[in-house]
Assembly symmetry: C2
Homo-oligomer: 776 residues x 2
């Protein structure tokens, strides 16, 4: 690419690096307000129970306790769901608890310690009800009902038929009839906790009849909507601020904690802070679904895929913040926008159980579906004796292919098709680049032939690809404002929060690049709902494609105004100008220029506004583009056939970035997602007491998140950015890295197979499971 950039593409330090390193950056739990109280929540020890009575007499008498909330004293409202128009089942505080850990009461006291002490003085009488925790148990006849009022444990979605949600395109039966081989199997994926380094935290303060809420969240505007809804006050009376959060990973997307804290603050007339303990965060924030998929794949001898059919059962827990969206998104991704299947059918069964809610988590359905599909694909390639890299290259999507977009499937009245944009050609490019870098040709010795054998230790190599709908459009689009100051510096306003992904840095780079300014001239102000323009938040890798994209459009709008002013002053047309080095230059007369500061002072009030469109249209076909980001990962592993011990030696991961705004941010994101993808199937496990539903490992010693020490070192993790500019992204950039989670488990599973010749279709790739699979 011949384009020259002065700010983007550079390894610039994060704009917030110094303040974060010095401990000056303010996170929610850093907020200190005079007279602030501390909130704690009493949680149910039972997975399913009716609260017969709550006696708060003793706690109210405890000095230092300022307020107690119980189901009887809070409004009987459902917090807002993620899908407009569909009510959630959850109440602020419910008279029936549906999982062990659900909030029963809330207390505000002058210290955290008194608040904790107070919880012990609340006397609750429960009538314990029968409970069910396993998704398959839950749909057996006679199983305890999680929500008796629904008459069954199968989640009924508006589009579902008898509790089953079908999505079908092409003619699956015809497809299978045309196949030479049909591969079939049952594949599982495990539950996973996001484990944000910063537990759920919120601070609420009322001033007059106006509420300010500091929250660690990905979606400040949604928290605002939820607070206004639950408290029955205008949105303009609620200000949610989330200037910095740490690691949402999907879990910080909505929460009733804010409302309960706001109610405590209102009742006491004092600011109230609620910060979850690690145990609370594990027990009572939502998590990735666990799933079981029966998959069938039809394939022709020469390598064409003719049909796919997935039948999925997922564990929704007490409630879903998204209803059918998560498994559905995975299905859409893996069944319609990664390979050319032509004929595809997905059946989803979503089951309520008495465990905590599921919700969004990195990958949003793709890892679950992908862990199935990429193992199936591998088996199919083997069946026809084709190299797995070649098989994927042959069948993967290309520009102009029919592709399903996320939004019409999720919200539209019927399934509508768009096209894969020109940037989808990064998919074969990712496969080629990752194969080259990982020395696939040299290392791959054929099916069931290890890369190397040393005694009981066998080395194997495996590949997986994946995609993610990086939502770059939305029903209620992101907007941003770029305010030019009198000295030519700028303030950028956007409602999306910085959650560690580096969006604040990327936005500063983008605005500086567009306007020809220095990186340090840009100040980015994020996620302060009353003052920053609407934007739904950061999720689905939409930070760059939607949030930063609106900043890009706003900066271009400001530049247009500057060019108009400069053109008049310089006696040329706006299109003869360019912005660089804090000046507007006449392109053909580099001596002719005017400082941007001069224009800002004279003209004043140069404010650029940008809003992303609801759809991005493909230039060639005129059809809607399905904005996706893809990746290919190759894992090299060593398995000890005596013990089942698994070592992941190398991970090479090529990622479609559209355009690299800052290489360090890309690498950070990929590394994190690789670690999360490994932890998901290799070390993490959600263990509940099978009789009570109580989580048994609600701490980070026993819930084993992978750390840098558990991962391949330095050079052994290779991140490869692939830059084919997306026609819809800012400078072509797109959201990425969720696919790094998606591709880990199947690449490792496929590498294990290459090493030891045994397929693992279960949910974990632990030494125990490998040992088991080896028939030992």
């Amino acid at each position: 690419m011949a384009e020259e950039f002065s700010v983007i593409g550079k390894r610039l330090p994060r704009v917030d690096a110094i303040e974060k390193v010095k401990g000056e950056a303010k996170f929610t739990s850093d907020i200190q307000l005079p007279g602030m109280l501390h909130a704690k929540f009493l949680r149910s020890p039972h997975a399913h129970a009716r609260i017969v009575s709550i006696d708060t007499t003793r706690v109210e008498a405890l000095p230092g306790v300022k307020a107690v909330l119980t189901p009887k004293t809070v409004p009987k409202v459902h917090p807002l769901g993620e899908v407009p128009g569909i009510d959630k089942l959850e109440y602020l505080l419910d008279e029936t608890v549906h999982y062990a850990g659900e909030e029963v009461a809330a207390v505000a006291a002058v210290t955290k310690e008194i608040a904790e002490e107070a919880l012990k003085l609340i006397e609750v009488e429960y009538e314990v009800l029968p409970a069910v925790f396993d998704k398959e148990e839950a749909i057996k006849p006679g199983a305890p009902l999680v929500h008796p009022e629904l008459g069954g444990n199968l989640c009924q979605c508006p589009r579902s038929v008898d509790g089953m949600l079908p999505l079908e395109w092409g003619n699956v039966e015809k497809g299978f009839a045309e196949a030479d081989y049909i591969i079939e199997g049952t594949y599982e994926s495990p539950l996973q906790h996001p484990v944000s380094p910063e537990p759920r935290s919120v601070v609420c303060q009322w001033i007059g009849d106006k509420l300010t809420c500091w929250a660690s969240t990905q979606v400040p505007q949604k928290i605002r909507l939820d607070l206004a809804h639950c408290l029955d006050i205008p949105l303009s009376s609620v200000r949610v601020i989330s200037t910095y959060s740490v690691g949402g990973y999907g879990a910080k997307d909505s929460e009733k904690t804010a409302t309960l804290t706001a109610l405590l603050a209102r009742k006491t007339g004092r600011p109230v802070r609620a910060v979850f303990t690690r145990a609370e965060d594990l027990i009572a924030t939502h998590r990735r679904i666990d799933s079981k998929i029966h998959g069938r794949l039809g394939v022709k001898k020469h390598g064409t895929i003719t049909a796919i059919h997935l039948k999925m059962i997922t564990n929704f827990g007490r409630d879903s913040k998204y209803l059918f969206m998560i498994p559905c998104a995975g299905a859409v991704g893996t069944c319609s926008a990664l390979y050319r299947y032509n004929n595809s059918r997905w059946e989803g069964y979503h089951v309520y159980t008495n465990i905590e809610d599921h919700g969004a988590m990195n990958g949003f359905g793709d890892p679950e579906a992908g862990f199935c599909v990429e193992r199936l694909i591998d088996e199919a390639a083997e069946k026809i004796g084709m190299d797995p890299v070649g098989f994927r290259l042959k069948n993967c999507m290309r520009y102009g292919d029919k592709a399903m977009d996320f939004f019409p499937v999720m919200f539209g009245p019927k399934i509508e098709w768009g096209v894969a944009g020109p940037d989808i050609d990064s998919l074969p490019e990712c496969i080629r680049k990752v194969a080259a870098k990982a020395q696939w040709k040299k290392k791959w010795k054929g099916w069931r032939t290890p890369v190397e054998v040393r005694g009981t230790r066998r080395r194997g190599i495996g590949i997986a690809i994946g995609m993610h709908h990086c939502i770059a459009e939305t029903e209620t689009p992101d907007a941003a404002t770029v305010k030019m100051n009198h000295d030519g510096s700028v303030d950028v306003l956007s409602s999306v929060p910085e959650i560690g992904q580096g969006l604040k840095t990327a936005m500063a780079q983008i605005a500086a690049e567009v306007l020809g300014l220095r990186y340090e001239d840009v100040n980015v102000i994020l996620a302060d709902t009353s003052v920053t323009p609407w934007g739904p938040g950061v999720f689905a890798s939409r930070g760059i494609g939607a949030g930063a994209n609106s900043v890009y459009l706003a900066a271009k709008d400001a530049k247009r105004q500057l060019f108009e002013m400069a053109a008049q002053r310089l006696g040329v047309k706006p299109d003869e100008l360019e912005a660089k080095e804090q000046k507007i230059y006449v392109k053909k007369h580099p001596g002719k220029a005017i400082p941007i500061a001069e224009l800002c002072f004279a003209g004043s009030q140069v404010t650029g506004n940008g809003m992303i469109p609801r759809n991005w249209i493909d230039e060639r076909s005129g059809k809607v583009i399905a904005p996706v980001s893809v990746a290919a990962t190759i894992a090299e592993v060593e398995v000890d056939t005596e013990t089942g011990e698994l070592e992941v030696l190398k991970i090479t991961s090529a990622h479609d970035c559209g355009r690299v705004i800052n290489p360090m941010l890309i690498e950070n994101q990929i590394d994190l997602s690789i670690t999360m993808g490994n932890g998901w199937v290799r070390s993490e496990d959600f263990i509940i007491d099978k009789s009570t539903g109580v989580m048994l490992n609600s701490n980070l010693l026993d819930y084993k998140v992978m750390t840098i020490l558990d991962m391949p070192k330095g050079e052994d993790i290779q991140e490869i950015p692939v830059e084919i500019p997306a026609p819809w992204g800012p400078f072509g950039a797109k959201g990425m890295a969720e696919t790094a989670v998606t591709t880990q488990a199947p690449a490792i599973a496929n590498a294990i197979y290459n090493a030891i010749g045994v397929r693992i279709r279960g949910d974990h790739l632990t030494p125990e499971r490998i040992f088991e699979a080896l028939g030992k």
Copy 2:
């Protein structure tokens, strides 16, 4: 007026009433930050001295002291002046001090007490220099030079000739030649301190390389400019917040305190707070000029004024934040935009002395000039035997008259003329209404004929009129944003601060009225420079005409967008619609309507932007309108001829408001200004030691501000709003009440004359001066 309003014009409680009454509203001195230090300033005991040495060894050793600044350790920069391009003489900390009270050093310590203690340990050696305090002494040959580098004490402005600034129009000599009588005299006006209930206060915090500064100020954007300038950082690195301040009265318009506090915070790496004591606020914030004017007025027998000539000398003190603007503004107001003088000449001599700086204060030159002119006018009316009400009615300006605008005179290359807009006809209306309400006809018995005589007590009645340029345009115009939320509620963003004038309330009423919403649906966010659109601040009564006007325009822009969306949905044209009761209605089919919330949700991102124009044009003449607000005050007084005791019995004040947005706000403003206008000449006095220049009454027991107990009670103060909509104001509203200050002193002086037949041309109307004037 037949127009019907649902929100404006109503006696609605202030939007911030509850939070202020409950003590929840955050003012600058309420800001508490973890680790916050306290700043104190060492002040010079000498009015003019060179600092020979400063020894900070002892103070640095005092436990709890974290930083000390001296002239040697701060940047050698001039804070920005108010007039672009003209440097101020002041330095952050200067090696020569020019008045008693000037900052010599600054200290930050862990407590206020330690910081105060620390000041005593700073050892300063001064070389005392000769000083001069009186404006007339200062221009005598051989007087000590305040700024020896200037070669004289006369302020040289860009337009001045030999230290004298002339403004002339018509032919004054010809005018005087045509006069039947010439009235001539020397009139004085006193210095006045603004005495804000909230002393100067500022809190600075650095996070990374970004500064946040909370300041009690009228001009947050100017503080931001000043901080960026003095600290040499981009504007985008500075955020100034002034959500609430109390009573600027002109004095909170710029200050180096913010910069010194920011430097202390940067040096210590901790937040720093500086809050002035009352004494510091009196000694070291700027104040109203004192003046002496020799005036001549030519008048014809039948009552036509033929010429005016004012020769003014004013005491600038050490420096001016405005150079010649303040006296000049008064001259422009009183000599060109109140009466039809036809021929006018003003000569201004502005003198540096070794007392504190002067600066803006309520009325901005008008009270000083007006106290002279309205006494001259009264003498002229008496000379030709005309009733003073009739004389003013005959000569006062009318719509279409040539009128001088503020800005061209202040900033333009030459004097340019505009016209008085149709709203100037409120001037005769004010005179008529105040005369009717005060029962002038009944009470006025003729010149030197008291209203009533009871023993030694004589009752008199007097009138004065006045005008104020309520700046409704500006070089860098105010902008505002109206963000519609999904439920149809709105956030209003503007950079002008709420300083107690009620602007936040007025803006909420205006936005609600325009958009057909409820008052409580509007949230107003003010004066947070990084997020609110540019606006220079509140001064010159511009809050409503410029700040709230941009909100009005932004709300109209949002309404236009809503109408476009609604028109499409309802199948009509936008101009067939109206907004009321939170809905958009088809005017002719009241059953046909769509809720605003519905439009906001579906369309999303309805954001209205408004910016006031640089000039307002008169429809009839096509000429620029000089936006002014006028008033007429009648005072009824009782004087004891034995003792000189003065009682002000009744004040009736009619004020041109254009349109009343909220009657309570109007009344509050008028009442405050009446009190300030009375205090100016009746009780306040700036007393300095004539040999040292040290203020001797720097406390509120000895500097006697008038309180509610000193003023006429209840019914005896009558505020009369006069509503002739200004073509440039929001709903016709305009800034007002500064004229209440202007009209007090001359109305009382003229009433005293009516009571006792003695003219007081001096600066105070105290019993001593009356006693003196009575020749006793």
